[in-house]
């Protein structure tokens, strides 16, 4: 009995926090089912009548799907690139003793301290020089480059944990270093690769600053950029913007539902170490 009463304050606090988190989502979701006039007369209640037009408008326009595909393409390309290059480098850092190893590894590790925002302006200048503005590569390559440090560090830790005997056996069977890397190490590292891939996908998916300065052409816009521009365009039509916001959240939240385990383990693995 007493134990049960003791948890009452906890329930209240947690519940209040939950309301704080949920209300904006619910407001957006229901707001999208109202007209803007209805929204300003009745902001708090349920939609009456339910208007589906905002949502159907959003998902029947090409812009939303194009932005979705752009986000997807950029996220996948970034992830493949950063994971592959990092895996190669992490392999060398984990399993070779070579001159300059510590220096190079420290160089990458220092990269962890660079806030992305610091590099935006010079990146813009560089990309302009290379002619990569208004080109998906202008977002993919820098994202991959900035993803390298964390990915290398996580993968190196994992590669180190694979016993030497495995490599010796593979070498005895005539495996070249690349053969061992490709046919033995990478398949063994699948869980670690999944973790770093999920982190890279989320980072790319949510990036706004870089696409903002690189993409002028609306055909290249990613979802975050598209939502922001949509707000500028339909400033007066609040209900429609809410619908766009909610629809744009769906892929990220769906991905969260599917990849929660990898995501949480990736984010917490490092943070709880030591």
């Amino acid at each position: 009995m007493i134990a049960r009463f003791r948890t009452v304050p906890i329930h209240v606090i947690v519940w209040v926090a939950a309301v704080f988190i949920v209300v904006p989502f619910v407001y957006g979701l229901f707001g999208g089912f109202k007209t803007t006039a209805q929204l300003s007369e009745n902001p708090l209640g349920l939609p009456s009548p339910w208007v589906t037009e905002n949502y159907t408008d959003v998902i029947t326009t090409g812009a939303f799907w194009r932005q979705l595909l752009n986000s997807l393409f950029i996220a996948v390309a970034t992830t493949v690139l950063v994971v592959f290059l990092s895996a190669m480098a992490a392999f060398a850092f984990a399993r070779f003793a070579f001159r300059g190893r510590e220096f190079l590894f420290t160089l990458f590790a220092i990269g962890l301290m660079f806030p992305f925002a610091v590099a935006i302006l010079p990146l813009f200048i560089l990309l302009r020089t290379f002619g990569l503005l208004d080109n998906p590569l202008g977002v993919i390559l820098p994202q991959a480059a900035f993803g390298l440090p964390l990915t290398i560090i996580i993968l190196r830790t994992f590669f180190r944990s694979i016993p030497n005997e495995v490599e010796e056996a593979a070498t005895l069977d005539g495996c070249t270093p690349f053969g061992f890397f490709w046919r033995v190490l990478l398949p063994m590292a699948r869980p670690a690769l999944a973790t770093v891939s999920v982190l890279a996908i989320v980072a790319s998916w949510n990036n706004f600053f870089l696409p903002l300065v690189v993409f002028n052409d609306p055909n290249l816009w990613t979802l975050p950029l598209g939502v922001q521009q949509f707000q500028g365009e339909y400033a007066a039509d609040t209900a429609k913007i809410l619908a766009y916001v909610i629809v744009s959240m769906v892929p990220a939240l769906a991905f969260y539902a599917v990849a929660e385990r990898q995501l949480i383990s990736g984010l917490t693995a490092g943070a709880t170490k030591g």
Binding site: V23, M88, L107, V118, L121, I125, I264
Partner: protein
């Protein structure tokens, strides 16, 4: 010496050969192999992470509108201008206020909720899932949603206030309090992330320690203060680090919610850098802001590692994911 019809070496000779090859791989040719593996990553990293810092350093010494090569060398003038600019000093103060708010309000809140959710309460898996959900959203999309919620007339926040008989509030246009509105949104988006980190830390603390402390007569608060908190130290230090680094580069949310206004009241360094670099094409001055941001993060990161984290950070921080 060995002709095409030479027989393969007898099996007995093989191990020596193998050993020779492996030694070779570890030493001479090993260096080349290792470098070949590192090279692609190194090239990309040098070109797009290290070079930009150098470019910013170079252009920050020039007065340059971004057209043609920078030729008007002005030494450290951009930096003198920066340090004498009330706007820049204001940006620093805003960053400082957000950092303090995060450390004093957001992180304790996250920690408190983590401790609560670490107990066996009903629906904790659902709460955990829910609190972390906002972290998954893009800051840009979060910003758009909250700019509608906090908008002066039709926004949800003011509708709630008036329905409770309170005065509506200028959430995003009151210079004295706009930072608190920004902080509210930051907390909405990021406290779940810190909570998840703390939860993982808490789960690493053996239950026996808590039980032992309780048997020794320690109450709930004492157990927390003398057992949980010290053992959670490394996790807290990492979360503080991520929060500060995230705040230093805060851009998306502020840009969408207020654009840094009203009259720079919510401006951060990154917003200022964007404003000067991309709107007013004062590339040199904007580069100086980038360099200042870089130096501030570098000094903070090195100092923090040296004095606070020592060696327990390896592999802990992300800069691509933003953790405020």
């Amino acid at each position: 010496m060995t002709g095409p019809d030479a027989r393969p070496a007898p099996p007995g000779g093989r191990p020596a050969e193998r050993r020779g090859r492996r030694e070779g791989r570890r030493r001479g040719s090993g260096w080349i192999t290792a470098i070949l593996f590192v090279l692609p990553a190194l090239v990309l990293f040098t070109l797009l992470v290290l070079t930009p810092i150098l470019v910013a350093g170079y252009t920050s010494l020039h007065k340059w509108n971004g057209i043609g090569p920078p030729s008007d060398f002005i030494g450290l003038d951009n930096f003198t201008r920066l340090l004498n600019s009330d706007i820049f000093i204001g940006d620093l103060q805003n960053g400082g206020i957000l950092v303090v708010l995060s450390l004093v309000v957001q992180l304790p809140l996250s920690l408190g909720l983590a401790v609560m959710l670490n107990q066996r309460i009903r629906g904790r898996a659902l709460y955990r899932l829910l609190f972390f959900a906002p972290y998954m959203l893009s800051e840009a999309i979060t910003g758009v949603l909250f700019s509608l919620i906090l908008s002066p007339e039709a926004g949800l926040a003011n509708r709630l206030l008036t329905s409770w008989g309170l005065e509506p509030w200028s959430w995003l246009s009151e210079p004295d309090t706009v930072l608190f509105s920004i902080f509210l949104v930051i907390t909405w988006k990021y406290f779940g992330f810190h909570m998840i980190i703390y939860l993982a830390g808490l789960q690493g603390i053996p239950k026996e320690l808590h039980e032992a402390a309780r048997i020794d007569g320690a109450g709930g608060w004492k157990v927390f203060r003398h057992v949980t908190l010290p053992l959670l130290g490394p996790t807290i230090r990492v979360s503080v680090f991520l929060s500060v680094i995230g705040t230093i580069q805060l851009f998306d949310l502020v840009w969408i919610l207020t654009g840094g206004g009203p009259s720079h009241a919510s401006e951060t360094m990154a917003v200022s850098m964007f404003e000067y670099g991309f709107k007013r094409t004062q590339i040199g001055y904007s580069s100086a802001i980038s360099v200042a941001m870089f130096l501030i993060s570098l000094v903070f990161a090195l100092g923090y590692q040296r004095f606070v984290l020592r060696r327990d950070l390896e592999g802990a921080s992300t800069t691509m994911g933003d953790h405020r």
